[in-house]
């Protein structure tokens, strides 16, 4: 079973980036921001980050660990990992189809 990130509206994309970041292991807010910037090339603002974290936590896709000096790490749950896998597989299929069609050249002028 996996959850649908689509119902997160404008937080769907930041949430996906956060899940990808946490797939490498538990991390806290600042480190997630830095990692997302490194892997996704896009910057998440602090307000958006915590809005997305709260949604992911409320949906059971991530869980908070005990804080370390006010910095609370988060980690993926089983549902979070399943959801991330489903999302990435969907994107992979989408990208493969697009690349195949592009390689065919039928859509070129």
């Amino acid at each position: 079973m996996s959850a649908d990130l689509g119902d997160l509206g404008r937080f769907a994309e930041p949430s996906l980036l956060i899940l990808v970041s946490l797939s490498a292991g538990p991390n806290h807010g600042y480190a997630i921001m830095e990692d997302v910037e490194a892997i996704g090339g896009s910057r998440i603002g602090p307000g958006t980050l915590y809005a997305a974290l709260a949604r992911l936590e409320a949906r059971g896709l991530i869980e908070a660990l005990p804080p370390e000096d006010r910095r609370r790490p988060y980690r993926l749950t089983g549902l979070g990992a399943t959801t991330l896998r489903a999302q990435l597989e969907g994107l992979e299929g989408f990208a493969r189809t697009g690349l195949r069609r592009l390689a065919g050249g039928a859509g070129l002028a």
Binding site: R10, G47, A51, L53, E57, A64, R70, R71, R72
Partner: protein
């Protein structure tokens, strides 16, 4: 920074406040980050997402908040209609000149942004509560143009024209997101602009009445529609 954090609800601050402050100490916020934080605070108030405590989707948590678009549309529609009726029934002057409209124009100018905000809120709820940047700006401009129109000439003209443009945009967005065809959307935009531009000094004022009537009907349908039962988030 603490003043900014106070924009967030207390429960949210108790849960995330410390770690957000720690993050902002690690990474001092840019002006864009400050805007993002303000936006996050509004989001936290509109869509509380505290883990564990509230497994029910916020859109369905409070049946009254579900009725907000309907009640707002009814209020705005009735206010708008009251203004139209006041002008429509006012005696025409014996010589050339304007009808004495009194409170009618303010009623129309207050009713229209209420209708706009009701439709924006309804569209946001249709999208599972996803409040977009355009929605925010449309609501701000709708309310702001009414304020501008109250400042007298030339604010009156500027405010009314802006309000007409915003109303047409809101109608078009709502209809398009509801799946209406391009022809229906285009027709609604043209009719909205024509109706809301009607001259208020003679009987053409009655051309505005459908806007108020439609808003009341929309509000009644929206407010009286049976509510779905509370749904639990996937966990």
């Amino acid at each position: 920074m603490s003043a900014l954090l106070r924009l967030y609800p207390r429960a949210w601050r108790e849960r995330y406040g410390d770690e957000l402050v720690a993050l902002l100490e690690d990474r001092p916020p840019s002006p864009l980050d400050l805007v993002d934080l303000v936006r996050g605070a509004f989001d936290a108030r509109l869509h509380p997402q505290l883990p564990g405590a509230q497994p029910v989707t916020p859109e369905r948590k409070d049946p009254m908040s579900d009725r907000v678009p309907g009640v707002t549309a009814i209020g705005g529609g009735l206010l708008f209609l009251a203004g139209v009726v006041m002008i429509g029934l006012a005696p025409l002057p014996q010589f050339d000149g304007y009808r004495e409209t009194g409170l009618a124009l303010p009623a129309i100018l207050l009713g229209l942004p209420l209708i706009d905000v009701a439709l924006i809120t309804a569209a946001v709820r249709r999208r599972s509560g996803a409040w977009g940047r355009v929605d925010t700006w449309l609501a701000i401009v709708a309310v702001g143009s009414t304020v501008v129109s109250m400042t007298g000439w030339p604010g009156l003209l500027l405010g009314i024209l802006t309000l007409i443009a915003v109303t047409a945009t809101v109608f078009a967005r709502y209809l398009r997101e509801a799946g209406a065809s391009s022809w229906v959307v285009a027709g609604a935009v043209v009719l909205t602009v024509l109706a809301s531009s009607a001259n208020t000094e003679d009987d053409r004022i009655w051309l505005m009445a459908p806007i108020g009537l439609l808003a009341v009907v929309f509000g009644l349908l929206s407010a009286l529609r049976p509510r779905p039962s509370a749904s639990v988030e996937p966990a």
